[in-house]
């Protein structure tokens, strides 16, 4: 899938965070978005995902009739985990909602290191375990574009290694990644977009 972002402008709280942002993203490529808090990293990801309408500009998927929101995974600040459901139920719902096609629920949980928690109500999970559950969703439904907002939050060093591994495998199979982070995330060969909150870089 080829993504083309053209002339994107983001206005939040009355301020223009960035203006005229344009970039392209092809198969296997990765972009890391950096910048201080409030600079618009989350907004950029949400704009690409189609969760937000841009003030100006557009997000175009060049080689598909589907819109960006049907072709992306979005892992945001909140984990989208329902406490009253078990871990397995959460993941199964994610699979059905997002079109399936990935690996089995149990295999995904195991890959993220929480395989033993499948039948546990999600509300007793720790923050790190919830984040792993959110990341496991990336594996149970296949979508070419991964939009990750501060994905390593609450993850220990082993979790971060797993995350990097997932990204590497995803890119190797033709997927693309845009990750926003204010910490250093070691993604090889990634272009960088720096948002300063006052214009575009």
């Amino acid at each position: 899938m080829r993504l083309a972002v053209e002339g994107l402008t983001c206005i939040r709280g009355g301020r223009k965070l960035f203006r005229g942002l344009s970039f392209g993203l092809g198969q296997g490529e990765a972009i890391v978005v950096t910048g201080p808090n409030g600079a618009g990293k989350t907004s950029l990801l949400r704009l690409v995902a189609g969760l937000l309408t841009p003030a100006e500009g557009r997000v175009v998927v060049e080689d598909s009739v589907q819109m960006a929101n049907e072709l992306s995974h979005f892992v945001g600040h909140l984990d989208a985990v329902k406490g009253a459901l078990t871990v397995g139920e959460n993941l199964d719902f994610g699979r059905t909602l997002l079109g399936g096609g990935g690996i089995e629920t149990d295999a995904a949980l195991k890959k993220l290191g929480i395989g033993s928690l499948a039948d546990v109500p999600a509300q007793i999970l720790s923050a790190g375990q919830r984040r792993r559950l959110a990341l496991a969703r990336l594996l149970v439904a296949t979508r070419p574009l991964w939009l990750l907002d501060e994905p390593s939050t609450a993850l220990d060093s082993e979790g971060q290694r797993t995350l990097i591994q997932l990204i590497v495998e995803h890119r190797a199979s033709g997927g693309s990644v845009i990750a926003a982070t204010h910490m250093a995330l070691d993604i090889s060969g990634a272009r960088e977009i720096v948002l300063t909150g006052e214009g575009v870089d």
């Binding site: 206005i11 709280g13 009355g14 301020r15």
Partner: protein, 243 residues
């Protein structure tokens, strides 16, 4: 001038500066003439002098419905055509329309008291206006509740359209409700036949109140644009202060 030119707030302010006094003058003249003619026209043999309230009450009723229609059109402008001033026009229409609606209810109540002995009698027309008033209040409550003007504008636009398609349903159901509860409904003066000597002043007065509505509407739009400018300046100042 193509509509898109008005999209620039500054152009709009210039236009408003010209139009507002014009409409205000027209309003003053037309309302004055209409009311004078109305007072000259014969008093109704049933209701006496109080019928003169009709010259104010009926235009208010027409205009509150007209304002809601304008709000719905502005809503389409916001959501479909994405005209930048559409939501400002919609908010102004909501504010002035609600005020006219409220005045319609008040004058209707005042008309009813000496004529039929009660301040309120749940007749179909007044009840419909009451429900319209509630719909207006809902839209304005939504405007107040959402801080960001653009988001508030989109939300209010959706609600305005939902309300608009419901207005015929509500009108029909209220009329139906009245007919089964009061089989002999009260005949109001502004029924199917109005004496021509009353019709002319009514129409002139209505035209005058329309001009008044446009005056207030343009003024409200201007104020809203200024309000947003102040908000933006405050936000920018706060951002600079942080740095």
């Amino acid at each position: 001038m193509p509509l898109i030119d008005l999209a620039n707030p500054r152009r709009f302010q210039q236009l408003a500066r010209i139009l507002i006094p014009m409409f205000a003058l027209a309003a003053a003249i037309l309302i004055g003439v209409g009311l004078v003619m109305g007072f000259r026209a014969p008093a109704d043999y049933q209701q006496g002098e109080m019928v003169r309230v009709m010259y104010i009450h009926v235009p208010f009723a027409w205009l509150s419905l007209g304002a809601y229609t304008m709000m719905a059109i502005a809503a389409l402008g916001t959501l479909v055509w994405r005209h930048p001033l559409a939501d400002v026009a919609g908010k102004a229409a909501a504010q002035i329309g609600m005020a006219f609606c409220f005045l319609c209810l008040i004058t209707g109540s005042l008309w009813g008291r000496p004529t039929w002995g009660t301040y309120w009698d749940w007749d179909p027309r007044l009840t419909s206006v009451l429900v319209l008033f509630l719909l207006y209040l809902g839209v304005l409550a939504l405007w107040r509740a959402i801080e960001d003007p653009n988001r508030a504008g989109r939300a209010a636009a959706i609600l305005a359209l939902v309300g608009f398609v419901n207005v015929p349903i509500v009108k029909f159901s209220v009329d139906w409700w009245t007919s089964i509860h009061q089989p002999t409904s009260v005949m109001r003066l502004d029924g199917p036949t109005i004496h021509p000597s009353m019709l002319t002043p009514l129409l002139i007065s209505a035209a005058g109140f329309l001009a008044l509505f446009l005056t207030l509407h343009l003024a409200a739009m201007r104020n809203e644009l200024l309000r947003r400018r102040v908000r933006t300046l405050r936000i920018l100042a706060a951002a600079k202060a942080k740095a």
